[in-house]
């Protein structure tokens, strides 16, 4: 009975969450001129997708987005984990350091995008995928650091002590004990970092060129002064969602219960 209520609740919120994307999915297969029709499927076409790839270079943007999002996580996650660990366990830099790190992300992007552009230009990192990756890594870092810090604080310090007396270096204790035990946090932080980069718009707009732009820039371009090409936007959104839907099957496995169970009294 309780189970039933639970599923009812989940189905309800799932519906609220899912209905808009479903309509988007539907719209992505409808010709632009019928996109606002209230019929479920007035006419079926795959033209929107075809157009995205042929006219809007969506393929290359998609690839850029994947590279940039994955790359920034690969760069940021280890750094964030290390910094978060230092904050959580060694209280490095005290409260000031924690808040300073976070404060770097408190400025609206519009205020730093030009300075950032100036910096990146000096190093020839504008119009380049590595440049954007680096920028995203830096943008992600504070958030990921904080999230992981929250998870690391929950790990019994005895475990690290055990590892250290077992001969592990602080790094070894971190790598072999702390990280595996905080897998849910790592998974969540990884996804978060990926998503932040995947969706970021302003830096992508300013720091990229025609060959290095990302999906959000491509989708924003569909909002033209001649109207919004909403069917193509829909197709683009559907494609943008795909990696996460695929990945969530995999991520969900890390978000399992009770990783420290049985370790300490």
């Amino acid at each position: 009975m309780k189970r039933f209520g639970l599923h009812l609740g989940l189905i309800l919120v799932s519906a609220v969450v899912l209905l808009p994307p479903l309509w988007v999915l539907r719209t992505s297969f409808v010709p632009e001129s019928m996109s606002y029709s209230t019929e479920v499927m007035p006419q079926f076409t795959t033209q929107n997708y075809v157009d995205l790839f042929t006219n809007n270079r969506f393929g290359s943007y998609y690839l850029n987005s994947l590279i940039v999002a994955l790359g920034s996580v690969i760069v940021a996650l280890p750094f964030a984990a290390m910094t978060g660990y230092a904050f959580a366990r060694f209280k490095t830099g005290g409260r000031t350091a924690r808040f300073l790190v976070l404060a770097t992300q408190m400025l609206p992007p519009v205020a730093i995008v030009l300075p950032a552009f100036a910096l990146f230009r000096v190093f020839g990192l504008t119009n380049s995928v590595p440049g954007l990756t680096l920028a995203y890594a830096a943008i992600n870092l504070p958030f990921l650091t904080w999230i992981l810090m929250g998870f690391f604080e929950g790990i019994p310090v005895d475990l690290e002590w055990a590892a250290q007396t077992d001969g592990a270096t602080p790094w070894g204790a971190f790598w072999r004990i702390v990280l595996p035990v905080s897998l849910p946090g790592i998974a969540a932080a990884g996804v978060l970092g990926f998503i932040l980069s995947w969706n970021e718009f302003l830096f992508a707009l300013v720091l990229t060129g025609p060959r290095t732009a990302t999906v959000p820039v491509a989708l924003a371009a569909l909002q033209t002064s001649n109207g919004v090409q909403i069917a193509k936007v829909s197709a683009g959104v559907v494609l943008a969602i795909l990696p996460l839907v695929v990945a969530s099957r995999f991520i969900q496995r890390f978000i399992v219960q009770g990783l420290t169970f049985g370790s300490v009294k």
Binding site: Q105, I147, G154
Partner: protein
Amino acid sequence: MFRLAIDRDRRIGWSFAAPGLATLAVVMGFPLVYACLISISSLTLMKPQLQPLVGFANFATVMSDPLFWGSLWLTVKYSVITVAGEFLFGLGIALMLHRTMKMKPVYFAILTIPMAMSPVSVALIWRMLLQPNLGIANHLMETVGLPRIDWLGNADLALWTMAGIDIWQQTSFVVLILAAGLAALPREPYEAAEVDGATSLQQFWFITLPMLRPVAAIAVIIQLINEFRTYDLPYVLTKGGPGTSTEVLSFFAYRRAFLGLSLNEGAAAAFVLLVIVLGMTVAFFALLERKS
């Protein structure tokens, strides 16, 4: 002796933190300092030189604009509404997810979909859904006998509509983080609480919530920061209108910098925002610590 032992921890700590902090200092530090300089300079797009430095004049200019205070209040209101909504819904959903076994992967996949959309596309899509005359939302309302609603064109409603859309999307982040936080909680206290006679609700209140607090607080803060900086949604949905009813602060800063061509005033507005967010963050954690 004591000092030296502490030093070791300090050294290890800094060596762990160094790569991250260094990256941050280089990639974010320079632009931040530069932006800070801009905010006290006379740099505009028309006259792109920092000199002469004008100190707090830009801040004074910005703060003397009545629109600034209006939009500051709006931003605070908006952020509190959205973060509260996201947190409450997010927590509820994460808890439900946490308790299911069957179908969990399916729910999880569905519930995290919104975060995979960039805010610009979210805004575009919701504009389509909420299009007052042709959109599906009003069509459905009408079908079930409800009046059509002017979601974004009504000055009293626009902010709420925007907040609703924001909550719809951002809740998925909160779900992700809280679901992970719940997963990492130790199991033993729950067994103790069970035999101590705590109902599910009491367990939630007395065990889950306090133990989840470090992670939850961080989720709240991250969302608060993001909401304070909200830009894409009003940009696409309303451009700050109708009137000034959705003119949030980062939009104000944007306008100053790029339409008003006064990068210095834009930066000043942005730093005011930073100080407020920072203040709220520090206060929030101080409050949490005091309570514990």
